[in-house]
């Protein structure tokens, strides 16, 4: 997902979802399916960012937690919790990945005009993890750069290997 391909004609359809109260958006064409819940299998020894796998239609796919990449609090699974299954290219192979979401909102259109690059200062997140920020009504929608996040295995701090649980920074 790069600047040139995301906004083809100045606008892009995205799926918006909630992570610990923040609104995120990912390109709708990446989304394969939104799953209510699936029995998770923990993978001991795996990075906390991808600590489990699920059975998605006979395929075993990793479950990634974007909240860790943005140092957000992991909430307990609720009735609203969903898993968004996306197809994303990782190291040259198209891989199915499940993304945890606290709530899934809707598919909507983002206009390039309403977006801006992440500010260099004053951001509590890794700048390279954010593709752009979009303003809609009073909200700010975060469009994450999934390629960068997956490549960094969701490490929210550069160069620091995280302990068991990522402490909340706010």
């Amino acid at each position: 997902m790069t600047q040139t391909t995301l906004f083809d004609n100045g606008a892009v359809d995205v799926l918006t979802f909630d992570l610990d109260g923040e609104v995120f958006a990912i390109e709708a064409t990446l989304v394969q399916e939104v799953v209510d819940k699936a029995p998770e299998t923990a993978v001991p020894g795996a990075p906390a960012f991808v600590n489990a796998v699920i059975n998605f239609r006979g395929r075993i796919i990793p479950l990634a937690d974007l909240r860790l990449a943005f140092s957000l609090d992991a909430r307990d699974t609720s009735l609203d919790s969903r898993i968004i299954v996306i197809a994303h290219e990782i190291e040259g192979e198209t891989t199915l990945i499940g993304l945890r979401a606290d709530k899934v909102y809707e598919v909507t259109t983002l206009n390039e005009a309403a977006t801006e690059a992440p500010p260099r200062i004053g951001l509590r997140w890794r700048q390279d993890f954010i593709h752009c920020l979009a303003k809609r009504d009073e909200d700010i929608i975060v469009v994450p750069d999934l390629s960068a996040i997956f490549a960094a295995r969701g490490q929210s701090t550069v160069g620091v290997v995280h302990p068991l649980h990522v402490p909340s920074t706010h």
Binding site: P39, T41, A42, V43, P44, G45, A46, P47, A48, F49, V50, N51, A52, V53, I54, N55, G58, R59, I60, I61, P62, A64, I90, E91, E93, T95, I97, F150, R153, L164
Partner: protein, 684 residues
């Protein structure tokens, strides 16, 4: 289902033929006088030429024709199959391979190869022209020696051509009518059918060719032009060409005129039948070639993989059914579930055996490699293969080729000494590389062994220190030192050669083998050569597993690695704290508490169980909460995110739709060998 591309079929066939030719030539270099081998190579060349022309690979057909011609002289005993000749034909064969694969080829390359071949043939058995002349007085010139003809002046000559085709020639798609047309095109032609061999109507097989032809041809073209007409069928036919002098031609002329139209229509009818023939008819024909085709079916590997996937899904569905049946009181359901379990397991086994191919297929490729290595290194190398009938999964075989090539090159390049050095060391001049395969349980062990100088410890140590893999002066055991060879970026070759020693070798070999869930071991008693043993699981797709529970997580242990299951008694439990070793029939076996490794939070079961597993001679006990039973495990890969988690080699889907991780026993044992297994990070 994709339509089958005829060109692709030809390529597959060509590949097989080229392999036959290569094997034949390599055999021939050992037993130069073997007539059967020569004939086999000749036949393969001939078929290659024929099918090449049929599928429009004209360059290939033309090039092969010349090689065939040269080789025909070997077949006739006019030329000896010298090593030079074998080498020249091998080189030519490589060119044929490029042509068959449709790679762009420089025509000059082909010309140069042919020139070389011609030179070698001439050196091996006198000049071509002289031998053709030598045959001339006999009247009948050998068929197949085309090309250089002695005929200089283009003057009219009359030839008497008598030929009968093989009975089944129509089945193979050959049509006599165009041949006759071709003869007609050469010059004034009188054709008479020989109907003597046509059986009475009740015994007549309409698809067979019972006719022969007697042709009187007057032409200014050389003899070779006539022979070229029969280029593709010459092996299976009776052909006699004699030059006619004087008036005796007139006798044949009259009857020929009257019969020929009839012959033409008869052959036309027969030829029209030929394309409609199905395989059944061809098999009924009793021809050796078609009988073979009947016995085996060629299937694209991709379809086999698809089928394997379906079988895998069936096995998963079946284990779900088993679970439901077990919870139900319905006896009918239970018996059906049991029956389906049997069927699924049988289906799995036969599917597996379909995918199995003998390692001979793999080993035979290395003979050429050895041949080239002998030439490049100036060493004498003898390749001995053992256990070629051992079978392995097709995918595994394919992925083993590169690592084995590397190991053999290493043996040839680093291991084996030059003949002079060997003689000085009291060894026979020719070095030996033994390539052996055998089955051991659910594994196949492939060993590459040489009788060379063995691994030079001092050099390994120096190199490891130089590359920072080993602290200078550090004390390590001999096996550990040998293991250094498999470290990334290690290369012992004093100088880099084209064969090995690029420094990317052994660690890549190790990775590939581990990628196949196998392991490798290097042993090398100093001065007595070295041996690398690869242990490879029989298949990649489905394994028998033992399902266990640790906390809330379920895990599969490959059953092939399981030795026994026992209870961890309270006494052992207490005693073992701190050293994690139990005594099993007077042997100390280290054990790992999977609960602490996996950081399990759920309370432990009262009676902990130990599953004793072994790989490569090492035994280790794995402490689990519960043993759930055996499980047909369809192995699914984990994503790249979990590739670094060494403890698991894959995952599988259980009957209830949940996921169980498959334990990598090799990794766990090496972990246990370090005695103090560090707990893995928490799962959640």
């Amino acid at each position: 289902m994709t339509p089958i591309d005829p060109v692709e079929i030809f390529r597959v066939e060509a590949q097989e033929l080229l392999e036959q030719i290569e094997q034949g030539l390599l055999d021939l270099s050992h037993t130069p006088g073997d007539k059967e081998l020569v004939a086999a190579v000749f036949r393969a060349l001939h078929t290659l030429k024929g099918s090449g022309a049929m599928f429009g690979f004209d360059a290939l057909a033309g090039f092969t024709h010349h090689c065939e011609t040269a080789f025909d002289r070997v077949r006739k005993g006019e030329v000896q199959a010298t090593p030079d000749l074998v080498a020249a034909v091998l080189n030519a064969m490589d060119h044929m391979r490029s042509l068959a694969e449709g790679r762009p080829c420089d025509a000059h390359v082909g010309e140069a190869l042919l020139a070389e071949l011609e030179r070698v043939v001439a050196a091996a058995g006198g000049s071509q022209t002289s031998s053709v002349r030598a045959n001339d007085p006999a009247g009948a010139v050998p068929v197949g020696v085309g090309g250089a003809d002695t005929d200089a002046a283009p003057r009219l000559k009359t030839w008497h051509v008598v030929f009968t085709l093989a009975e089944d020639v129509l089945v193979n798609g050959t049509r006599p009518l165009p041949m006759l047309d071709e003869l007609r095109a050469l010059g004034d032609c009188h054709i008479r059918a020989l109907t003597d061999a046509v059986p009475p109507i009740e015994a007549l097989t309409p698809t067979n060719c019972h006719l022969g032809w007697d042709v009187l041809l007057t032409t200014d073209r050389p003899l070779s032009a006539i022979e070229d007409v029969f280029m593709f069928v010459v092996d299976d036919m009776a052909l006699e060409i004699t030059e006619v002098k004087g008036d005796d031609a007139v006798d044949v002329q009259a009857p020929a005129e009257t019969v020929s139209p009839l012959v033409a229509s008869a052959t036309q009818a027969a030829a029209q039948v030929a394309p409609d023939l199905d395989i059944a008819a061809a098999a009924a024909n009793g021809d050796a070639k078609t009988a073979r085709a009947d016995a085996s079916v060629r299937v694209p590997a991709q379809r086999l993989d698809e089928l394997m996937d379906r079988v895998g899904e069936l096995v998963i569905a079946q284990s779900r059914l088993k679970q439901i049946a077990a919870a139900s009181q319905d006896m009918n359901l239970r018996s059906v579930a049991e029956e389906i379990e049997h069927l699924a397991s049988e289906l799995r086994d036969s599917m597996m055996s379909v995918r199995m191919v003998p390692v001979a297929q793999l080993f035979s490729r290395f003979r050429r490699l050895i041949h080239d290595l002998c030439r490049d290194t100036g060493k004498e190398i003898e390749l001995i293969t053992e256990g070629e009938t051992t079978e392995l999964d097709k995918t595994v075989i394919e992925r083993l080729a590169d690592p084995l090539i590397h190991l053999i090159r290493n043996s040839a390049d680093h291991g084996l000494e030059t003949p002079e050095e060997r003689l000085a060391a009291g060894k026979p001049a020719a070095g030996r590389i033994i390539l052996a395969a055998r089955q051991a349980g659910a594994e196949v062990v492939i060993t590459v062994k040489d009788d060379g100088r063995g691994v030079n410890r001092d050099r390994v140590r120096a190199k490891a220190e130089e590359n920072g893999l080993l602290a200078p002066g550090a004390v390590i055991s001999d096996p550990e030192l040998l293991q250094m060879i498999f470290q990334p970026g290690f290369s012992t070759a004093a100088k880099i050669t084209s064969l090995s020693g690029r420094g990317v070798g052994m660690d890549v070999v190790k990775r590939t083998i581990e990628g196949l869930r196998g392991s490798l071991e290097l042993t090398s008693p100093a001065g007595e050569g070295s041996e690398v043993a690869l242990r490879i699981p029989l298949t990649l797709a489905i394994i028998d597993g033992l399902l266990v529970r640790v906390g809330t997580g379920r895990y599969v242990i490959p059953l092939s690695a399981v030795e026994e299951c026992l209870e961890l008694t309270a006494e052992q439990d207490v005693r073992s704290t701190g050293r994690s070793v139990l005594t099993l029939r007077d042997q100390l076996v280290p054990f790992l508490r999977l609960r602490s490794m996996f950081n399990t939070k759920a309370p432990p079961d009262v009676y902990q169980k130990i599953v004793v597993v072994s790989t490569g001679g090492e035994r280790v006990g794995l402490v689990v909460d519960q043993i759930l039973g055996d499980h047909q495990t369809v192995i699914k890969p984990l994503s790249v995110f979990h590739a670094e988690v060494g403890a698991f080699s894959g995952a599988t889907i259980l009957g209830d739709g949940g996921v169980a991780l498959i334990l990598d026993v090799g990794h766990l044992t090496s972990e246990a060998a370090q005695h103090s297994p560090a707990p893995l990070r928490a799962a959640s």
